[in-house]
Assembly symmetry: D2
Homo-oligomer: 147 residues x 4
């Protein structure tokens, strides 16, 4: 017996449509976050980092990468439980390892545990242009009780 | 002998002027972050949370609070070391405890250690309207070597 | 209105008696952890660090300080909820800031949120001999549902 | 180009011999930690959890799993840099996901970044008896300057 891999119930396009409806702030003010893949036990979210996501030193900012990690967890919980907008992050820990320039960054998130009330996940953030890992995060989403 | 409390070399207005010069993205796209106090060993940063900082459930988003914590650390390191824009976050851990509505949120940051190459800090985020702690973060900034 | 401060229902001696009954491993193999104070919203646990708690470099080891932080959280949840041994840590983040030699280390823990199913806390670990903060932790305990 | 995978310079037996010499506390008081594999970019450490590693509820304690994660990082930095005992943990974040009974637990650690002064790693802890992930950690080791 191994960790049973949970199965998704929403795909990337359904997630993007749902996010643009319930969370318009995500791309109105910080454009560039899109779910690009959903598979059993994980998701990939892409940040197309532009001028507005940079910090001093012309590198992608901590908040922009945190957002990528957080949306990665949100995409995991939504895609595997269905459109329950009120799941919320309770903890997120992020390590910043290398500077990333403007351009594409992929956040590959993975469900470590999907329980009844909590989901634990991690996210590896890489710049596909050079294959480097720029940041790594792990965190917890709280799942509201079924009505 | 006790922990020697480091002394600031920049005040709140100098910090805000420096941030608007080197980090225009902070308030161009996510208006509302201002340093409101600097004292030996710590700073207070205010987020005036509006519609654009909210997530589903009409509560202040994780990324908006992460930004408040991260700027709290940046304000600590800048105010106590001087205008060294290239200090960068290497780790940040954040716990979200209570939902916060739009309005004022204060991030009270505290330097736990100011070494030659690393600064460790924590930030307590409260809603002054009701005195509640909404989130708590701790993290590390890396300080570049003196030229 | 401010954060309501929760009131303890067990004192330091009751906690030590309870810990030695339900968690004999704590002091059988790693002697030296004792609750020395309980007050509304927090506790102090003392580690009397000896040879067995050291790591290479003759400084107190990471696991010994993690244990101090973890017991600090456990003392908070037990003292404020009553003797519910099955509360468990779900997350703990610790920053190590200064080396500590053998001797007394105090872990001052503080309840940041006491909810129905989760308690969030932080712990500042100091060496009273010189007043220095050697480590800082924050974490979450899960509280089992009432039967 | 991809992340260059660092190459180990010590194998599992060399690591165990070095650990028993410089860090006798590890197995004198909490027997059961052994490096069982070293490969480019990572290590596996085994905890043979017995009565002494349990907490209330007869499950493997947080400190025992923290130790497994911490030794996983130490094994990574030692095996890839050589026998530099004075590398120290600066941060470790751990999520506890499932209860583990006494028995074998494997900590599979992975180097996420090996820089000149810092190494970032993560560790997945599984119970091979059932293939479940019981805990996950990420952290940072500080590497002392070359003399």
């Amino acid at each position: 017996m191994t960790n049973s891999v949970p199965k998704p119930v929403m795909d990337a396009e359904e997630l993007n449509a749902f996010l643009s409806q319930v969370y318009p702030q995500l791309n109105d003010h910080l454009e560039g976050y899109r779910v690009v893949d959903v598979k059993p036990g994980g998701c990939t979210v892409r940040l197309q980092a532009s001028e507005q996501h940079l910090r001093p030193g012309a590198t992608v900012s901590g908040p922009a990468l945190f957002t990528l990690a957080d949306i990665g967890g949100y995409a995991c919980v939504l895609s595997h439980l269905g459109p329950e907008a009120l799941c919320v992050t309770t903890n997120l820990n992020i390590n910043f390892m290398r500077k990333a320039e403007a351009g594409e960054i992929l956040g590959r998130s993975r469900i470590l545990k999907l329980g009844r009330s909590l989901m634990v996940f991690d996210v590896e953030m890489i710049t596909p242009a050079n294959g480097l890992t720029v940041a790594h995060a792990s965190g917890t989403y709280s799942i509201p009780p079924k009505k």
